[in-house]
């Protein structure tokens, strides 16, 4: 019977072993130094972007602000690519890394991280399929996300992904890219081919031609019949409970808004007829037209979108309503004209064209595109300036002579909160229990914080429910709780002194060290507490840092 006495001890040992096992697991998906090297020959491309901005700033009579510290750039990169702040572990490694081009190497490292595949897939999916709910849509969206995440991991050329999304046939499960067609679901109304066509053109060509479904575009040149011709490419798409296929017997009918009569519309493209092959299914022909190398709208749209996801603000806004490519005026009013804030100066190249061409010439490599933008001058600038004149600052922001402040998405807030509640890197493989908590809690949080949906790149200000949630919500309260295994708990117990405590809290929450003014105020507070109140003091500090604008805004 003596073994019974040992039982609690055995259980305890087992738990300790389990905990250490899950926490010590090598981080799968985190690339080794070998595979995560920066892409070669980036310099020329980066130089092109820098030259563009040097000229633009000169012609706009703008002085760019100073270059930001590398740690704050690292924070931007982590937030943009992985939806989280760098962990203390990563900050330490970064600071000890004394090799050249440290930021470029860390960008490459993050671009090979599972967190990037998953997070960036979700960001791109917003533009591709939206965020609509409904049970089976959620399920299909999930399959779609897994597929997209896999494509990012394999870093497949972008036009291949687009072709598969538009023209794919097959089962929801076996060919998850076909789940793109769920972008055509209208809650309650079922499947709508017009909606799908509108979404495809917006997502892949950056044109809001779907306004033209009901009326001509307010200030562009799209006509209703042009929209109908595009939509007719989806006219033979047939949905079944298990997947997508093409049915050549289907006709695409449109109701005339005046006579209410139905008429059959044949597929047609509004421009670039020569890019559309005559062979293949309607969707295959559309896919070939959309991704034709001469159809510059494809590369311009994805460059603008990726730019937006990295800066929190796209080069041209809204992200999916781009003017015609320069020199390719189709018809109608000249949208290159003076009214557009990004209007070109005489002889000046167009940024989207320039980066787009570079993207195409380098094999439509998404990873490389991100590396180029992140290494270029605008991304490295500070988000602050001596200038206090709102109008001038607006112009600087417009031309990226200053890094724009952008509100963090709720997922980024959660990602940052979770990361800040741990001293080691929290990633997809870190242990299952916390991941489970993360999923369930984060969804509630996202709901309460307010999801921006597909309009996530619009300029938004904070709201009162958000402030209340950050100050008094459950998630924050539990995250800052100074328990033995939370970061705040560990910092309060293990720091040798108050200076160290303060520095760690700042690094973990804000990816920087306190300023002397901050230390002057906060250090005495930490110093005066009795040892048994240290946990509380760290909780208060965490609360303060979490509620600061610096935490909730990308800078």
């Amino acid at each position: 019977m003596r073994w019974k006495l040992l039982l609690p001890g055995v259980v305890l040992l087992a738990i300790i072993w389990l905990v250490s096992f899950v926490t010590d697991q090598p981080l799968k998906g985190v690339a080794t130094e070998e595979s995560a090297r920066p892409t070669a020959d980036l310099d020329d491309s980066v130089q092109k972007v820098n030259t563009f901005f040097a000229r633009r700033w000169a012609s706009e009579d703008l002085q760019p602000v100073k270059t930001a510290g590398e740690l704050s750039v690292l924070r931007r990169i982590a937030l943009a690519l992985m939806g989280t702040v760098p962990s203390l572990e990563e900050i330490r490694a970064f600071e000890q890394d004394s090799g050249p081009d440290r930021l470029q190497r860390w960008t490459a490292r993050y671009l090979h991280d599972q967190r990037y595949f998953d997070y960036f897939a979700e960001r791109l999916a917003r533009g591709f399929v939206g965020v609509e709910g409904g049970q089976f849509i959620v399920y299909r969206r999930d399959r779609f996300l897994n597929w997209l995440s896999g494509q990012l991991a394999a870093n497949r050329p972008y036009p291949e992904l687009v072709r598969e999304m538009i023209a794919g046939d097959g089962l929801w499960t076996d060919e998850p890219e076909v789940n793109f067609v769920m972008a055509g679901y209208d809650d309650g109304e079922g499947f709508n081919k017009n909606k799908l066509a509108g979404r495809a053109v917006r997502a892949f060509l950056g044109q809001r031609i779907d306004c033209a479904q009901c009326h001509d575009h307010p200030f562009d040149h799209w006509k209703q019949n042009e929209f109908a011709g595009l939509a007719a490419h989806f006219g033979q798409l047939k949905l079944s409970p298990v997947g997508v296929r093409e049915d050549r017997d289907l006709k695409f009918e449109v109701e005339d808004r005046h006579t209410l009569e139905k008429k059959v519309v044949e597929p047609a493209v509004p421009f670039g007829d020569q890019w559309e092959p005559t062979e293949g299914t309607r969707r295959e022909r559309l896919a070939a037209w959309v991704t034709h190398p001469e159809n510059r709208r494809l590369e311009r749209a994805i460059v603008n979108r990726v730019w937006g996801l990295l800066f929190g603000r796209s080069w041209i806004e809204p992200v999916d309503d781009l003017p015609d490519p320069p020199g390719e005026q189709i018809a109608g009013p000249n949208v290159e004209g003076a009214k557009h804030p990004k209007a070109l100066k005489a002889g000046e190249p167009d940024l989207l064209d320039l980066v787009g061409a570079d993207f195409r010439e380098h094999g439509y490599d998404l990873r490389r595109l991100i590396e180029v933008i992140v290494a270029s001058k605008p991304f490295l600038l500070e988000s602050k300036s001596e200038i206090d004149d709102a109008q001038r600052l607006d112009r600087m922001k417009e031309h990226f002579a200053i890094f724009p402040l952008a509100r963090l998405r709720p997922e980024q807030i959660i990602g940052a909160l979770y990361q800040a509640s741990s001293l080691t890197t929290v990633d997809q493989n870190s242990h299952l229990i916390s991941r489970f908590i993360k999923l369930t809690r984060s969804n509630d949080f996202v709901k309460e914080y307010g999801d921006l949906g597909e309009n996530e790149l619009e300029d938004r200000a904070g709201t009162i429910p958000q402030a209340l949630l950050r100050m008094n919500g459950n998630l924050i309260n539990e995250t800052i709780d100074a328990k033995p295994f939370t970061a705040s708990g560990r910092i309060s117990q293990m720091s040798p002194n108050a200076e160290r405590t303060l520095e760690l809290c700042y690094l973990v929450c804000l990816t920087r060290r306190p300023t002397s003014e901050e230390s002057d105020y906060l250090l005495p507070l930490l110093k005066k507490v009795r040892p048994n109140q240290r946990g509380q003091a760290v909780e208060d500090l965490y609360w303060t840092l979490f509620n600061s604008p610096e935490f909730a805004w990308n800078h």
Binding site: D186, D187, G188, E189, G198, R208, D210, C211, Q213, P218, F219, L260, P318, D321, K384, S385, E386, D388, D389, A390, L393, K397, P404, L405, R407, E448, G450, E458, D459, R460, A461, G462, T463, I464, P465, A467, L468, L469, M471, N472, G473, N477, T515, E517, E518, Y521, L522, L525, Q536, D540, L541, W543, T544, N547, S548, P549, E550, A552, W553, H555
Partner: protein, 423 residues
């Protein structure tokens, strides 16, 4: 140590862009009649109430079903007999029986009936309450100016006016408001806020304009103001005499309507109270009888109470849902979606009263599909016209054109006020 909200705020924002804290302006809250700023209460019948089982019954006809009608205080007006108490007060409002729309889907219909515009893939229009709180600001107010009670799937939004004008959502007012209590005692809260001031200040260095544009500070201040505001008492419906609470009914919806009255009295610009459960595709009659048990006392008490407190002249009341229900009763005793001829109640706020607009056919296209029918009720009223009427009456320039973030100019309402309803 017990800090007042003023102490807390002073401590927190002594050197920030601190905004002057106006006291409770009792005079403004006490103003009555024409002296008072207009407010709006929307009673939202989520799912789409049947016109035939509410304000437009047709007993004894092919389409009338089991519903009988009763006389009301307004001579000549009869409504469904499930609403004996509303019948006593309906003469204070107006009845429109001929609303028409083309949106027969819940989400799209809700969009139209909350914004006055059909859904548009390129922008989101603001709801009535958002426009009202945007155009008629009140800096004496410490709680949100636009409030949605009892939630719904598609709460009123700020749309292109910005998320600040989204309705502040309170799912169950009798359960308190989420995230409104500080997690620590006053001492620690004060310490936290002082720290926040220091940390915010260093972020503002070199970013004054940008940080101001984020409204971060402002929303924190307003959240703090709200957390400690006396005006939160508006939610404490148990402060009301038992007789009044009984009149509204001891239901969530009754509590919501009572809270709405208290909120408006406090100076809130727009309140939406949702009553779910109208989507009666089966057993329409029984379903509507159940619904009426909640709506009848609450709506009647709301009108009565506003009148008693001389708040009716300054409070517009709109009782509406996303569409009506088919004249034809389906195989399982239900009625389906019907946007071509449905009813609403609207009144107060200085509108005329006792006007009945429109008439639906007693034997209309009962056999026809709701979506295909092009027949209209007599004297059809388009939704945008109803919205123009309400906005105008609230004192909003209803046809004002604003530039949306995508650069497309848009009027608050595309309709024209319904002259017959204007006093």
């Amino acid at each position: 140590m017990n800090l007042t909200r003023r102490d807390l705020l002073k401590a927190a924002f002594a050197s920030g862009v601190s905004i002057a804290l106006p006291g409770l302006d009792l005079r403004a809250a006490e103003a009555r009649g024409n002296e008072r700023q207009k407010s709006l209460i929307v009673i939202w019948l989520a799912g789409g109430a049947s016109q035939l089982e509410t304000w437009d019954p047709h007993p004894g006809t092919l389409i009338g079903g089991q519903t009988q009608s009763i006389k009301t205080k307004l001579p000549g007006l009869e409504i469904a007999d499930m609403y004996p108490r509303v019948a006593e007060h309906i003469h204070e409002l107006n009845v429109i029986r001929s609303l028409v729309s083309k949106e027969g889907d819940h989400e799209r219909g809700t969009y139209l009936l909350k914004t006055g515009y059909r859904p548009d893939p390129t922008l989101i229009h603001p709801s009535l309450g958002a426009i009202a709180s945007h155009e008629l600001p009140d800096d004496k107010l410490e709680i949100p100016a636009h409030i949605s009670l009892l939630g719904s799937q598609y709460p009123a939004r700020g749309g292109f006016l910005g998320e600040m004008f989204d309705a502040f959502k309170i799912y169950d007012p009798s359960n308190g408001i989420r995230n409104l209590k500080a997690r620590v005692g006053d001492d620690r809260q004060q310490q936290r806020l002082k720290g926040l001031e220091v940390v915010s200040k260093s972020f503002q260095a070199g970013r004054r304009v940008q940080v101001e544009n984020t409204l971060h500070q402002l929303t924190v201040e307003r959240a703090l103001r709200m957390m400690t505001s006396e005006q939160l008492k508006a939610f404490e419906i148990d402060q009301e005499p038992q007789a009044i609470r009984d009149a509204f009914g001891d239901t969530q919806f009754g509590h919501g309507c009572l809270a709405a009255r208290r909120l408006v009295e406090t100076g809130v610009r727009a309140v939406e109270v949702t009553l779910q459960g109208w989507d009666t595709h089966a057993n329409n009659y029984e379903g509507h009888k159940t619904q009426a048990k909640e709506l009848d006392p609450a709506l009647a008490a709301l009108i009565h109470d506003l009148r008693q407190r001389d708040l009716l002249a300054s409070t517009l009341v709109l009782c509406i849902g996303e569409f009506g229900r088919t004249p034809k009763i389906n195989g399982v005793g239900g009625r389906d979606h019907w946007p071509r001829g449905f009813s609403c109640l609207v009144g107060g706020g200085g509108l005329r009263s006792g006007v009945v607009i429109g008439e639906t056919d007693t034997e209309p296209q009962a056999e026809q599909d709701a979506n295909k029918s092009t027949a209209l009720p007599h004297d059809p009223i388009e939704v945008p016209d109803l919205f123009a009427t309400i906005l105008r009456q609230l004192g909003v320039e209803f046809d004002k054109e604003v530039l949306t973030p995508i650069g497309r100019p848009m009027r608050f309402s595309s309709g024209k006020p319904i002259e017959r309803l204007l006093a």
